[in-house]
Amino acid sequence: MTLLKANKITMQFGGLTAVSDFDLEIKNGEIIALIGPNGAGKTTAFNMITGVYKPTKGSIYLNDSDITGFRPDQITKKGIARTFQNIRLFKDLSVLDNVLIANHLNIKSSILEAALKLPRYKREERKMYEKSMELLKKVGLADLRDEKSSSLPYGKQRRLEIARALATEPKLLLLDEPAAGMNPKETEDLTLFIKQIRDEFDLTIFMIEHHMQVVMGISDRIYVFDYGVTIAQGTPYEIQNNQKVIEAYLGVSEDA
């Protein structure tokens, strides 16, 4: 069943077309990767899907309902969560607070009920706390819950950012270069971790990644961007043997 569908979405910044006519279809439970050289428009595509940018043309559907032009917070409520290329944790706040904040979107109590600690709010708060602690346990950060999030080692910050995204209870998780800056060991852990959360939380994952090990290892299908244009899509095997992809990455040989 199709979870996310993008219909020829295009993003233009003035005269520059960052992404043109991107067609995307993601089915439930898939792990899809988006690759391409630097500046190919991958993050721009993410930003359109998560509502940071409104596509200049085209439309985006989540479970057949049109979400084009929605605000980021509305899209998160609909079930798309994301992480960022350069980690964007709430740096001065604790690990637990970071995850608790991602629970706020479902709050029913008004601010007055919250400030006066009325029963409904207390119930909600307890539920948020339990849910967040459970999540932290699952990602292995429970012991660090009172640490300032910026004091965590890099790999754990990445993990926390994913946990925070998971706390919004997404159906689709967008990971923007989750393995960036990681050493081989961390990369390997991350690959396992992504598979693990996909199964455990019943997720569909769409990620941007440069580490070919990760991409080829876990994705079901891959989209390749070059200068904002989708130059190829298919299984890892197809992509590895695609002439256009090889050219985009390695250049065209002189005598070809």
């Binding site: 980021p72 960022f84 607070d97 919250a114």
Partner: protein
């Protein structure tokens, strides 16, 4: 352990009340007025800290919100005879002219009207960020002041209001300061408070975690303005007179200094620095008078105090940007740790 801390808290509250009782009967009226001002600055500082320190909105419209609260409370509590005496140029509009409210409802009304003003200002202004928001709110604050100057039949214009009942006493000001503190603590530690802090830390991430930026910024802005209005009301009924010139943007900067010195995002810091700033403003008055250093006598220069004050501000901004407390808060644990660490056990590092 938790019991012990509760006892400590109760003892401290009792001590504060005892101190206020003693102060009320032994201090002279000048000293009592300074104490009142301290408490009012706590209310004002906390309200501004919610907007600027916790939610990270660089807003400079505070004097405007205070003006709305001060005028509302003053007009509502002023006796009818005083109203007739004040509005000799243009009479006060009906039904305000023969309406006298008790202090508390008048204060709350002042807060509410100030919140309404914030809502109207916030709708366009909160779409801006950073410096642009600061400039816009600064402008709106001035607009409020200009409106007050010109609404002769409502505010008595540039003449201001005199003989406002001096209802504000130590109990009112400290009672409301305490209530504001409790509400702020509860609010900041709630899920909404966390959302405010998330917006301060990283707007883009907060929005992508499902936080409606505009709604939450507006909430912080309106609640902050509500308490600013109440603080303004307390101030007007403490001084007994209000006029539009009281609410120039320099007043906003005084409060900004309180929260910067105390630490943006610390309730404890704001309370401590409200006292420090208010008292030192008075203590430094000797600088305005001639100073005899023994070998040289500096003639009295009015405004010398403000020069020193500004220098202090510059030093704080350059060297102690975190303020006294940063974003930390008071807790008995840290006090106990401090006592244990410091003077008693000198050989502790064996």
């Amino acid at each position: 352990m938790k019991n012990k801390k509760n006892i400590y808290t109760l003892i401290s509250i009792a001590l504060v009340i005892l101190f206020l009782l003693l102060a009320n009967s032994f201090f002279d009226s000048y000293q009592i007025r300074i104490l009142n001002l301290c408490a009012i600055y706590v209310v004002l500082g906390l309200s501004m800290n919610l907007i600027n320190g916790f939610t990270g909105l660089f807003s400079l419209g505070h004097a405007g919100f205070m003006a709305v609260g001060a005028y509302t409370t003053a007009i509502l509590t002023m006796p009818i005879a005083a109203k007739e005496a004040n509005y000799f140029m243009t009479p006060l509009v009906s039904p305000l002219n023969n309406m006298v409210w008790p202090f508390l409802p008048a204060l709350i009304m002042g807060g509410l009207l100030s919140a309404v003003a914030a809502f109207i200002i916030g709708a366009p202004a909160l779409r801006l960020k950073g410096d642009y928001l600061a400039i816009a709110t600064l402008g709106f604050g001035e607009i409020i002041r200009i409106l007050i100057t010109n609404a002769q039949s409502l505010t008595n214009g540039a003449l201001g209001l005199k003989s406002i009942p001096n209802t504000t006493n130590i109990w009112w000001s400290f009672g409301i300061a305490a209530a504001t503190t409790v509400i702020m603590i509860l609010l900041i530690n709630s899920s909404y408070g966390r959302a405010f802090k998330a917006i301060r830390e990283d707007e883009i991430a907060a929005e992508n975690m499902g936080i409606n930026l505009f709604k939450h910024k507006m909430l912080a802005f309106v609640i902050g303005a509500f308490f600013a209005g109440i603080g303004g009301g307390l101030l007007g009924n403490l001084l007994g007179t209000v006029d539009p010139n009281m609410f120039k943007f320099t007043l906003t900067f005084n409060i900004l200094f309180v929260i910067v010195l105390g630490g943006m995002g610390s309730i404890t810091g704001t309370i401590i620095s409200a006292f420090i700033v208010t008292i030192s403003m008075e203590v430094l008055r000797f600088l305005d008078a001639p100073i005899n250093l023994g070998f040289i006598t500096i003639p009295g220069i009015t405004g010398m105090r403000m020069v020193v004050y500004s220098l202090l501000l510059i030093i704080v901004i350059i060297y102690f940007r975190q303020g006294l407390m940063g974003t930390r808060e008071f807790s008995w644990d840290s006090v106990i740790a401090l006592i244990k660490k410091a003077p008693f056990k000198k050989g502790g590092a064996k």
